[in-house]
Subunit: 141 residues, 2 copies
DNA sequence: AAAAATTTAGTTGTATGCAATTTAGTTGCT
DNA sequence: AGCAACTAAATTGCATACAACTAAATTTTT
């Protein structure tokens, strides 16, 4: 029919939007004790994989711009998780590096995904399919 | 390995989070001319399906609470898309109904999903699978 | 080298989201 | 009826997101 495309249940975006927020909410419950938020956790994960990154490169990895990252990173610096340091060689860039506290958080953080995974009703195969399709979707959007 | 669960690429949430924001961004580009945002569009879709709903029932449909909806609905009222009216029978509830302007927007809005669909590289079958898996995921989270 | 174009963070302003609390109204129970 | 428990919106406070713009530094072009 004429308005079928406007049915919530026919759209792909809506359940993705809901899923995103709900998973983040679940994460945030566990983060309470670590005193971080989901986007901050993403920044930490990037830095755990590779320390000493610029704001820009973190942004590319996470698909976030400086308008979001700058204040977010400042909050993380206030909490002594990271250090922000203007780069000597290229004064435009700012290097983000982990503090000891930021590094140590990794142990505790590693315990959280398994806890969340328990609530996921998808089989491993379904999870892989879902991940593959989502990646296919975003690599084009 | 020990920290594999902390790899961005191993997680399910991250691509969903990215996909959600990117699709909404694409939507928002088209919404510019309609002067609405994605969450406002969601509210309109709910009301196009069933007019005269309470804040609470809209919230249940969209998985949003009053802390998000109340100011959002006020902005929509300012733009003359909806009317907020305290219910006579139960003074606790507020009925949200479409204005003529809000109703008329439906025509224009219906043109947007097809435009976006063009950029989706998934086959119809893949989209259906993705939708099914995402729904399976959120119905449990 | 000097001007123009580009790049990188930061800033500003607006709109979500959500936890936690508050206020007002309704229901249930005795 | 009277009061406790509950429910619906609204409010408060904080943390994202993002468009649009600015400031400063670097690179490219001429």
């Amino acid at each position: 029919m004429k308005y079928d495309v406007l049915k919530l249940d026919n759209q792909l975006c809506f359940p993705i939007y809901v899923a995103s927020r709900e998973i983040i909410q679940s994460y945030n419950k566990y983060f309470g004790e670590l005193d971080i938020t989901y986007p901050q956790y993403l920044v930490l994960m990037v830095l755990w994989e590779e320390d000493e990154m610029t704001v820009n490169s973190i942004g590319k990895r996470l698909h976030l711009d400086s308008g979001t990252l700058t204040p977010l990173l400042k909050r993380m610096e206030t909490k002594a998780l990271i250090i922000r340091k203007r780069c000597k060689i290229d004064e435009r860039t700012v290097k983000i590096s982990l503090t000891d506290k930021g590094k140590q958080l990794r142990e505790k953080a590693a315990k959280i995904p398994p806890r969340l995974a328990k609530d996921v009703t998808l089989t491993n195969e379904e999870s892989e399919t879902l991940k593959r399709l989502i990646y296919k979707l975003i690599n084009k959007e």
